[in-house]
Amino acid sequence: MSATTQLPAAPTPPSASSPADDAPRPPQRLRRGALRSERPGVRFAAWATVVVCGGFGLLPVYWLLATSLTPRDQVFSYPPKFFPSAPTLDAFAALASNDQLFGYLRNSVIVSVITAVLSVLVSAYMGYSFSKFRYRGRRSLMYLVLASQMFPQALLLVTLYSVFSAYGLLNTYTALVLSFTTFTLPLCVWMLKGFFDTIPDELIEAARVDGASRLRIIHSIVLPLAAPGLIAAGLFAFVRGWNDFVFALTLAGPEKQTLPPGLVNTFIGEASTAWPELMAASLVVSLPVAIAFIALQKYLVGGLTAGAVKG
């Protein structure tokens, strides 16, 4: 992708802890100059944009929260109340007493955790091979891994269903874990390769001279040094499994279904949807992803753009 070659490597992630607003930090004198140069018109335009686009981004989030706190009977009134007059946690209590949902939750946790572990292992080996060895077809294979995410999953499912069915893997965790792990490979392999690239070859040479086996070098030297990368890749893989809808919907029966299709089956299609409970459930489902992201944000933008920049 030559369109991206002019991009400088790894832009600083816009995390709260990043010290500067502008990556190549100019001397203080120049910064002040830039500050003064923001004319009233520019400031007004910036504020107007923030209000309009920010409203589009955040009002639905507010509505999600507000609805989850609204008593069930108040939801079915028009026009809706923008501020719930008698906020209640009833919807969350109703979720807590729903055993079926706990079943979906258990499936989600099992599938996502195993996906995370397996994905880290597989992508670490693959990324290490790409990073520290040179062989024919290496670069082609790297791009093939990257390109594998281009293929539509709805199309893959058409035959995956038959394949898993033939091996008796329908309605199992295995089918979901294998699928999710594969779809995390493009990002995880490229991200981990980036981490391994920063580990000096001299370190590996030194261990070899000391007689460590190649597997031992990976497990005792390389992986511990790349721990932040492994955590980032693992969290990403966890989220991939957690958020998936169509694979769990198609390959897993009611027994093994994860939360996203489980929630659709539980709440959608009834005559009157229990909106406060559905919104409360939505909040609960989103929570692990938000936590994962906060833990991950230092690496996420770097990892996403790193793959893109080198591609």
Partner: protein, 308 residues
């Protein structure tokens, strides 16, 4: 690095048993689990699905018969053009709209307005929630009887009566695009913000001293610097949206009357509700050919733009 590795390799070879793996073999061994997964879950299903395009095959019955191009002809004579149009409307809508909103926000939050950092974090929320949650939320917002969208638009005097946004063929696609836009724009914002932070501020200051206004500087300095990342986010977003499934499927299921059906939902429905694997494969084949063609055209186009 390669030479030093070869050196060590020879060094080792001289003192260890000859049947040990070479470095090359070891490297290939490390690739095996990943390659096996990619072959089993992506490559084989893809090829097999495209091959079924030439067979009459059911999801639930065993056996298949070769029918040549019959499936493809059937698909092309069916509502293929309508599917293509709807897929393009969805894909372009969900690529351009998030780009405009994300770019506007990135530019606004790259200034020194107060609270920019907090807002950058908060704006990521829509991108973080799972796709089904996006669908649930917008299903509720667009609800025909109690939806807040109707209340808002009526309050502003923009509609006279409450509308069933997701159940009317004329409005369903717009509603779905808006929901997907809400999910996508934060990613655009993050990528473009990262790009904006690489634009050297000295250039802006020099240009300003020479009397260039904000708009002029945007087109002369900011935009050329962002060309690479803009091209990249547009291409990736296009590829992703061309195959997007979740939000459309949960919000409308492709309806009403097929008005929000795209290639992704049509292939899924043909295979798993119509049990017609041959026709699903034919749709998929045409879909992939189109995607490849569009990507090649795009890459050519952007390369040409760069040469200028």
């Amino acid at each position: 690095m390669t030479s030093s590795q070869t050196h060590t390799l020879e060094h080792r070879k001289s003192q260890t048993a000859p049947r040990r793996l070479s470095d090359g073999q070891f490297a290939v061994l490390l690739l095996l689990p990943g390659v096996a997964l990619l072959a089993g879950v992506v490559l084989y299903p893809l090829v097999a699905a495209l091959v079924t395009a030439f067979f009459e095959q059911s999801l639930v019955l065993p056996g298949r018969t070769f029918v040549g191009l019959q499936n493809i002809v059937d698909v092309l004579q069916g509502d293929f053009l309508r599917l293509l149009r709807q897929t393009l409307v969805f894909t372009l809508g969900t690529t351009i709209l998030p780009f405009v909103i994300g770019f506007a926000l990135a530019l606004a939050l790259n200034t020194r307005i107060r609270g920019a950092k907090v807002l950058r974090g908060l704006m990521l929320i829509p991108w973080l929630v799972p796709g089904v949650v996006v669908s649930f939320l917008w299903m509720w917002i667009f609800n025909a009887n109690y939806g807040v969208m109707n209340a808002l638009l009526q309050g502003l005097g923009l509609v006279d009566d409450p509308q069933a946004w997701l159940a009317q063929p004329g409005t369903a696609m717009g509603a779905v695009i808006l929901a997907k836009t809400w999910q996508s724009f934060p990613w655009m914002m993050v990528m473009l913000l990262a790009g904006l932070q690489t634009v050297p501020i000295e250039l802006h200051e020099a240009a300003e001293m020479d009397g260039a206004g904000t708009v002029r500087r945007f087109f002369a300095i900011t935009l050329p610097h962002l060309k690479g990342i803009v091209g990249l986010v547009l291409l990736l977003e296009f590829i992703w949206n061309f195959q997007h499934f979740d939000i459309i499927y949960v919000l409308t299921g492709g309806g009403p009357a097929g008005a929000t059906q795209t290639f992704a939902t049509a292939v899924y429905e043909t295979a798993f509700q119509g049990y017609d694997l041959g026709k699903a494969g034919a749709l998929g084949l045409l879909w992939m050919v189109l995607l490849m063609a569009l990507v090649v055209v795009y890459v050519r186009f952007s390369e040409k733009g760069e040469e200028r």
